[in-house]
């Protein structure tokens, strides 16, 4: 492993697998330290490119996102640290790819559970190529006042509390990431603080070892003393013992190896870290503590006395005049995140969207307050769901069944009507489902399928004002408006629309009142006296019957009914229904592998 400094105030990293919080914490740390450049140069998110917006102090900055490690490295040749937040399944492969980049010197692997054999390949490669691997299963490390990896040292409050925004004199290395944060706090309490802290991770074979970092710290002039927190299992501490015995380390080392409790367990025990396993006597905490003590390290009698040992060692260095007093700086204040400030009740912010029909925040989604399990368990139908999401209430079964009948009747009307035709032409042009569908839907309007609302509006207005069919129809004629819901290209007095008959029959059998439909029939009788094809069409039937549904069910106020008609709910029925048919036409054309449609010249009148 390389010796000496691996980070500085200019170190920049590439961050693999975008995670908002750890990156933001790195940038907040940068700001706290007064760094001029953000410590994250680029993000690698396989399969996506662009930018991620993050805060650097009060300002927002855009950090480039790359889809591959190679692309990120060539775009940011000065970034030499690779922070790998990949899962344990893919961490080894991405780490190896990063190690092979000439610009990368340090790779930190956060994932826990990387297979040993994979880590060993990383170790071998890093050794041969003089690179540093931190982890796997680590939170990372920090050089105080300079650079920090991911979530290391926790919250900003903690970083300020532990004075990690400026360098102290202590080099610290531990296996446990959680305990490293605890020790930053302890060390800040009894010394002038951390110069650099590294968590090597709890695996059996960490990418770099306790002794690797201790030897490195020994070569960093600013580090005056070294604190080591080891753990039972493995023999890494013995290479530190060897280094001490061979007098390779010239700075005081305060060390503690945890896991003395293993002897309380009757059988072999595996603690939280993969490497923390009781093995032979040599791997026990007691044996390692003893060996470190004999090799010249300061070893307390228990973890509880660790703090005092660190304190005394530091004070001795102060007495010997070996510690240069740290110049204290006042770190700038980091603006609080809005989400956090809201959570703590300090500020409020207006919402930008309001929703009243459904809520997906709980254990299960709710439609108008009715949980999904109720909808399924009680056997709700599509009509019931429409009544919840459109009308925000559970309508009686006869109403929801009527809605379903409307949908079934309007689902399709052959390939020749304008909606289906457009869909067919679009599908045959090789467009996707959504394009084909909306191309058909876009034809729905005043001339095609969009007359239900207007029919309802005019019938309701005329009926409620007590106009006779004669007054209504002639009044419309005077205004130059065709009566919506009346008239059909093909159907006539003697060839009635079967769909209209079915709707009327259903309403007669189930609706408490059909006053609007009766009125529509009276209008039809009058218009039929004018022309044979001025029959009540399906739009007119649905429009008038829906008015009967709304007023007859007793579940809507007069004001609500006006609003429903005004907003145009009823055309929604047609749009929903016809989507079924249009999707069918799209699939039909695709299945039939129909080629691009071209309208024949012969069928066009070319003229001036």
């Amino acid at each position: 492993m390389a010796t000496g400094q691996i980070f500085s105030r200019n170190t920049q990293a590439l961050f693999y697998n975008y995670k908002q919080l750890p990156i933001q914490r790195m940038l907040d740390f940068d700001f706290l330290c007064g760094r001029e450049t953000p410590s994250v140069a680029g993000i690698i998110n396989p399969g996506s490119e662009g930018f991620q917006k993050l805060f650097f102090g009060q300002e927002e900055i855009a950090i480039p996102v790359h889809s591959s490690i190679e692309a990120a490295c060539s775009a940011h040749p000065t970034a030499d640290v690779f922070i790998n937040f990949a899962s344990f399944r893919s961490a080894a492969a991405s780490s190896m790819a990063a190690l092979k980049q000439p610009t990368i010197r340090v790779v930190a692997i956060i994932a826990e559970g990387v297979p040993e054999s994979d880590t060993k390949l990383l170790i071998a490669y890093a050794r041969t190529n003089n690179k540093v691997v931190l982890g796997p299963a680590t939170v990372g490390g920090i050089q105080a006042g300079a650079f920090k990896i991911g979530d290391t040292a926790g919250t900003i409050d903690n970083i300020i509390h532990c004075k990690l925004y400026r360098p102290g004199s202590v080099g610290f290395v531990s296996k446990s990431g959680g305990m490293s944060n605890e020790l930053y706090n302890t060390i800040a309490r009894v010394t002038d603080g951390i110069y650099e802290g590294i968590a090597i991770g709890g695996d059996v074979f960490p990418g770099s070892t306790l002794s690797d970092h201790v030897i490195r710290f020994n070569n960093i002039p600013q580090v005056k003393m070294i604190v080591v927190l080891g753990e039972l299992g493995g023999r890494d501490e013995y290479s530190l013992v060897e280094a001490l015995k061979e007098v390779k380390i010239h700075k005081p080392v305060v060390a503690w190896v945890s896991g003395t409790c293993a002897r309380l367990f009757k059988s072999e025990v595996q603690f939280g870290h993969a490497g923390a396993k009781s093995g032979g006597e040599l791997e026990s905490a007691q044996a390692k503590n003893q060996a470190l003590l004999e090799a010249g390290a300061v070893v307390p009698t228990s973890y509880e006395a660790f703090e005092t040992a660190i304190k005394e060692t530091f004070e001795k260095l102060v007495e010997e005049g070996k510690i240069t007093p740290v110049s204290e700086v006042e770190p700038p204040e980091i603006p609080e995140d809005l989400s956090f400030a809201i959570k703590s009740g300090k500020v409020r912010a207006p919402t930008h969207i309001i929703s009243t029909i459904s809520d997906d925040r709980g254990d299960e989604p709710c439609y108008a307050g009715v949980p999904m399990s109720t909808i399924i368990e009680r056997g709700f139908s599509v009509g019931d769901v429409i009544s919840l999401l459109w009308f925000k209430r559970s309508l009686p079964r006869y109403c929801t069944q009527f809605i379903e009948i409307c949908i079934m009747l309007c689902a399709d009307h052959g390939p020749c009507v304008s909606g289906a035709h457009n869909t067919i032409v679009t599908a045959r042009a090789g467009k996707d489902l959504v394009s084909s569908l909306v191309s058909g839907l876009l034809t729905i309007g005043p001339r095609f399928g969009g007359a239900i609302d207007d029919a309802a509006r005019y019938f309701k207005d005329a009926h409620d004002r007590g106009l006779t069919p004669y007054e209504f129809v002639e009044g419309m004629k005077k205004q130059g408006i065709r009566v919506p819901g009346i008239g059909h290209r093909i159907k006539s007095r003697d060839n009635r629309d079967k769909r209209v008959q079915l709707l009327q029959q259903y309403a007669h059998n189930h609706f408490p009142s059909v006053k609007y439909m009766d009125y529509a029939v009276q209008v039809e009788n009058y218009t039929l006296s004018k022309a044979n094809n001025l029959v009540l069409n399906v739009d007119g039937a649905i429009g008038s019957l829906f008015l009967d549904l709304l007023s007859g069910s007793g579940m809507f106020t007069k004001q609500e009914i006006d609003e429903i008609v005004e907003i145009g709910y009823l055309n929604g029925l047609f749009v929903l229904a016809r989507s079924i048919g249009l999707i069918g036409h799209t699939f039909d054309q695709k299945r039939l592998k129909q080629p691009l449609y071209r309208h024949p010249w012969e069928d066009v009148l070319y003229t001036k």
Binding site: L121, N185, V204, L229, A274
Partner: protein, 423 residues
């Protein structure tokens, strides 16, 4: 989560299957597993060699020295094997200070042999160590000076030349065979993510390598790559580790979640109980109670980490509290709800589950004269600690709360002082 020992039966099953695939070597070994659930008639239908050969039977429980302990029976017929098993199933034995019943046996054909070879492969940080000896068997430790060792660095690949120093002194007629065998076994070792493998001994039957005794250890973090190759595989608990119902409840909880939940009762009559966040910190709390001289009062080891959900913490804390408050004897007890300063775990959120459990167990806590000591830091710790303080007042249970201003293990001393003080 780490290196796990597997049964001899599985070691041999994997070796046989994959030695054929990777090295084209077909081992003539047969083994059958016998447990309480085994029906000998059914087993014989499947493994016909059981009724046609003389057999060996021994416990398959992850402990060694079975021959020296008189737990191996040789040259039996099937009926005698059944008799041997019947007499020992469920019977407690003591091995290396651990006492536990025998639940699993391995049965194999009895192979009379003279030559006993030793082979082991150990995965080390920078490579693998292969050891071989022509003087294997139960006297291997006495003959350790005859063991030859080679170290194969990770970046080098396995070749016949690598094995050469191991087998250099073997007679020419077996050297090639054994060299190829070692090379094949190493390929299996690598391909299946073994971290340790030992055959002591293997022999030659009709000139072909034949493992008689085998131990194996797999890296279970590699399970995601090896699902198919490993097949149905069991990772038994270490010998002597018999889970109590409460421990196995937590064990099953642990296996279902992405978080880590660990619980071991050390002394059910202990008066100091722990429930600590974090793999590193939990060990240190247990250490500290012991290092301060009160190991005998330590009730348990408990660790939760990896951001368990509130409901998981609740279920976990219930179990810890039930054990900690069992059989009140009028004397004071202490519960350490400890932890270091978290890097990213939301302290208030994890405390919610613990607080719910403490509330549920109010009367039990009082009956056991429980004194509770809390110490924790990290994101949102102020809220979490304030909730804990309020709970102490609400329940009227003695409860002291500390944050990062206090040392992590200071509450161990407080707890000891508390239980040792009069009244």
């Amino acid at each position: 989560m780490a290196r796990k020992k597997i049964r001899e039966y599985d070691s041999k099953r994997l070796l046989k299957e994959h030695l054929k695939r990777l090295a084209g070597i077909e081992l003539q070994i047969c083994s059958a597993q016998v447990t309480e659930a085994t029906d000998f008639t059914e087993l014989t239908d499947k493994e016909s060699w059981l009724s046609s050969s003389k057999l060996v039977v021994k416990p398959d429980m992850l402990f060694g020295k079975r021959g020296k302990s008189g737990l191996v029976a040789l040259n039996l017929d099937l009926a005698a094997v059944a008799q041997f098993v019947k007499g020992r199933l469920g019977v407690e034995v003591e091995m290396g200070g651990c006492k536990a019943p025998i639940t699993t046996f391995i049965v194999e054909p009895f192979v009379p042999h003279e030559q006993e070879y030793y082979l082991s492969i150990v995965s080390d940080r920078l490579g693998c160590t292969l050891s071989f000896s022509e003087c294997g068997g139960i006297e291997i430790e006495e003959n350790w000076d005859k063991v030859k060792t080679v170290f194969l660095p990770t970046e080098k690949s396995m070749t016949y030349e690598v094995c050469a120093p191991l087998i250099a002194t073997l007679p020419l007629e077996v050297r090639g065979k054994i060299g190829n065998f070692i090379k094949g076994v190493f390929d299996v070792f690598q391909d299946l993510d073994f971290s340790f493998l030992e055959m002591n001994p293997f022999t030659l039957v009709n000139g072909e390598p034949y493992p008689l005794d085998m131990r194996g250890e797999l890296d279970d973090t590699a399970a995601f790559k090896n699902f198919k190759k490993w097949g149905s595989l069991e990772f038994p608990l270490p010998f002597g580790r018999v889970l109590s119902p409460t421990e196995s409840f937590i064990h099953s909880l642990d296996e279902k979640t992405s978080a880590s939940l660990k619980f071991t009762v050390l002394n059910s009559k202990g008066r100091i109980w722990t429930m600590v966040a974090g793999g590193g910190a939990s060990v240190i709390y247990a250490d500290t109670v012991g290092d301060l001289g009160y190991a005998s009062e330590l009730g348990n080891y408990a660790e939760y980490s990896g951001a368990p959900k509130e409901d998981e913490v609740l279920q976990y804390a219930r179990v810890v509290l039930d054990c900690a408050t069992a059989d009140p004897d009028g004397r004071k007890r202490a519960l350490l709800i400890g932890g270091g300063i978290a890097n990213f775990t939301d302290v208030a959120a994890t405390f919610n589950g613990i607080i719910r459990a403490l509330r549920e167990k109010e009367s039990k806590l009082k009956a056991a004269r429980m004194h509770i000591y809390v110490r924790r830091g990290g994101p949102n710790y102020q809220t979490g600690l304030a909730k804990m303080r309020a709970l102490g007042d609400e329940l009227g249970v003695p409860l002291e709360v500390y944050g990062p201003e206090a040392t992590m293990t200071g509450i161990c001393k407080s707890a000891i002082d508390c239980i040792m003080s009069a009244a």
